[in-house]
Subunit: 336 residues, 2 copies
DNA sequence: CTGAAAGCGCTAACAC
DNA sequence: GTGTTAGCGCTTTCAG
C-alpha cells in the first residue's frame, strides 16, 4: 500500500492524504478522520526511503560501533543507549547502531556522512585525539561527542566531570589519612582515562604527596586486566593503602583480586571504583564514583543532537554533569 | 556531489555514469576509467536513499534489539554480530541494530516490514512461541531465526543442537557415576532453555534416574540469578553432585557461588556450563559445552539471509551446528 | 556504446 | 480546503 493507492481509494489527491497524515492544519477535520481511518485499515505506512529522499532527513540517528573492545558489553553504555532510544521513540524517531569491524570504523563514518543515512551521530568513547571528531567537524555533520576530546573548534559534547569525580574520591581518601594511593586506569588514549589520571596526579601534588609510579597502572578495560592490575599492586614492596579504579569492569576484576587474595577490603586496602558496580561481588558494597541517571543522560544527548540538527550552534551544546561519591563498605583509614 | 553534477562535470549523461559506477558491461573501458577517477576525486558516493528507492532494496540487514535483558552484554552474541558485520562489509552491505524498548519490540518489527527499511532481519533469542516469527512469516518478510521455535510452516533458522549438547554433558556426568544431577536453566519461554531442559529430563529418564524437582531451577539469565540458583542447590538436604548450567552468564554466577561457599569444584560438585566462560574466575578452567566458531556462525547466518532474499526457499535454509564438550577442571566422580 | 525519459514514493510550492 | 506539478537522486527501459 502506498500513498497513491490510498489516495485513489479515498478519491482524493496524494497531497491531501499526505497533509492529513502529517498533521498539517489546513485540512478539514472530516477529511483527516477519513484518511487516518483508511490508513489504519489498510496498514499504510509511509515508505521511509521515499520520505527521507523528499525531506532531506530521515529522523534516524546513529551510533557507529566498532566491535571488539568489550563495551557493548558495558552495562552503563547499554543504559545510556536505552535512554536514547526511549526518548527517540516518543517522537517517532529512531536510533540505529551500526556494528563495524574496527578496521572499517572511519570508513563507515565517511559513508554515513556522504550518504546522509542518518541525521546525526553520537560518538562514544572519545579519545584524547579523536579522528572521528576531527572528520565530522570538518564535514560539518551533526554529532554529539559522548565524552570530550582535544579539539580546537567548538563542538557539541556531553560528559561527566572527570576531574570533579576524582576530586571527590581523593578528598575522601586523603581525609581518611591515606598517603600511598594507587590508580588503575583504562588506556590513556581514552579521554576519560586521561582526565581522571591528570586529576589524580594533580590531587596528589596539591596534597604535597610524591607520586609513586608503581602505583599507576594503565590499559585495563575489562575484568581480567583489572584483576591483574590489582594483583600487581598487591605485589608491591609497600602496597598502596587505597586504590581508585577508573572504570567499572576493571573494578570488578580488581575487587575480585582482593577477595581472592584474602585482603580485608576497607581495612587493609580501601577501594573506590568509577562506575556502578555489578551484581555478585560476594555482597560487598563497593564505594563508587557514580554517574547518576544514565538513561536520562542518553535522553539528554539525543535532545542535544536534535537541537544541533535544527541549527542550534554547537558551542552552546556542551553539558557537564556531576558524578557523586557513593560510599560503600570499602573505605577506612590506612592500616599501618 | 550527486550523480547529475558528476555527469555534467564529465560531459556525460547520468545513465552512463551510473552504468560505469555499477559495473555494467556495456560501457567502454575508457569511459569507465574516467568515471571512476572522477568519482574518487570528487568523493562521490551514491545516495543510499535514492538508490534504495529506485532499486527496491537497501543492502542493509537488521537486528531489532529489545534493551533490558542484559544480552547485548552477552559476549557470545557480540561475537556472532561481529561475524555478521564482517561478512557483510566484504560485500559492501551492512548490518544495523535497532535498539528498542521492550514494549516497542513488535511495533518495530511492523515498521521495518512495512517500511522495507532493511532487506531482511535476524531474529535472535527465539522463544518457544514466538510472535515475531509468526508475524514475519505471515508477512512473508525475509528473516533468519537465530534459534528455533515452535512454528508449523517452514522457516529459515540457524541453531546449535541443544539436545546433543546436553547429551554430551549428561553422558559424561553419568559416566562418572553421578546420580543426583541439577540443572540451572534460563527462562523456559526461551527455546534454547526449553530444549536443553527437555534433553536433560530425557537423559535422566533414559538412565533410569528419578527426577528431583528441587534440582531444577529456572529463570536465571545473569550472574546474580545464577549465583542465587547455585546457593539454592547448595542448601538442599542432599545436594546434587553435579550441576549443568544452561547459559554462561548464570554459569559465572554459579561458579562464583561455589567458590564463595568454599565448595571444592570437581570434587564435591562437578559443573558443566553451556557457553564459553569469561575471564577471571580465579583461574578455574570450567568445563563447558561450547558453541564453536561464533564469528563463522554469524557469517553463515547473513549468507543464509541473503540467499533467502534472493529466493532460496526457507525450507532449505535450516542449519544445525554441533556443540562440543570442552573438559576443564570441574569434573570428577561424585563425592560420597 | 551512449542518452532521453519514465518511475521508485513522497513532500512542498503554487495555483484554484 | 484541495489539487497540480515539480522535484529529492537514483536506476532502467527503450531508442539510437
Amino acid at each position: 500500500m502506498n500513498l497513491e493507492r490510498l489516495a485513489n481509494l479515498l478519491g482524493m489527491s496524494k497531497t491531501t492524504v499526505s497533509r492529513a497524515l502529517n498533521g498539517y492544519p489546513e485540512v478539514s477535520e472530516r477529511t483527516r478522520e477519513r484518511v487516518l481511518q483508511a490508513a489504519r485499515d489498510n496498514g499504510y505506512q509511509a515508505n521511509p526511503m521515499a520520505r527521507s529522499l523528499a525531506l532531506g532527513r530521515s529522523n534516524v540517528f546513529g551510533i557507529i560501533y566498532p566491535l571488539q573492545p568489550a563495551d557493548l558489553g558495558d552495562a552503563m553504555f547499554l543504559d545510556v543507549v536505552a535512554g536514547m532510544s526511549a526518548a527517540l521513540e516518543q517522537e517517532g524517531k529512531s536510533l540505529i547502531i551500526a556494528p563495524v569491524s574496527q578496521a572499517a570504523e572511519l570508513a563507515t563514518y565517511q559513508q554515513f556522512v556522504r550518504g546522509r543515512r542518518v541525521d546525526g551521530l553520537i560518538v562514544s568513547r572519545t579519545q584524547v585525539q579523536d579522528e572521528r571528531i576531527a572528520f565530522l567537524s570538518k564535514a560539518r555533520f551533526p554529532f554529539i561527542a559522548h565524552g570530550r576530546t582535544e579539539h580546537h573548534a567548538p563542538y557539541a559534547w556531553f560528559d561527566y566531570d572527570n576531574a570533579a569525580g576524582i576530586g571527590l574520591a581523593m578528598q575522601r581518601l586523603l581525609g581518611l589519612g591515606h598517603r600511598r594511593l594507587g590508580l588503575i586506569s583504562a588506556p590513556l588514549l581514552l579521554n576519560f582515562a586521561r582526565q581522571r589520571k591528570d586529576a589524580f596526579v594533580a590531587a596528589m601534588a596539591d596534597a604535597g604527596l610524591a607520586l609513586d609510579t608503581r602505583y599507576l597502572i594503565a590499559d585495563t578495560l575489562d575484568r581480567r586486566s583489572g584483576y591483574q592490575a590489582m594483583q600487581q599492586l598487591l605485589a608491591c614492596q609497600s602496597r598502596p593503602t587505597a586504590v581508585i579504579v577508573d572504570n567499572h569492569l576493571s573494578g570488578v576484576g580488581a575487587v575480585r583480586a582482593l577477595l581472592d587474595a584474602g585482603v580485608r577490603i576497607g581495612e587493609e586496602i580501601s577501594v573506590i571504583v568509577w562506575g556502578r558496580m555489578e551484581d555478585t561481588l560476594a555482597g560487598i558494597a563497593v564505594s563508587t564514583i557514580d554517574q547518576p541517571d544514565a538513561a536520562r543522560a542518553g535522553a539528554r544527548m539525543v535532545q542535544m543532537l536534535q537541537a544541533l540538527v535544527e541549527g542550534t550552534p554547537a558551542a552552546s551544546l556542551q553539558e557537564l554533569w556531576q558524578p557523586a561519591l557513593i560510599e560503600g563498605a570499602t573505605l577506612g583509614p590506612p592500616a599501618s
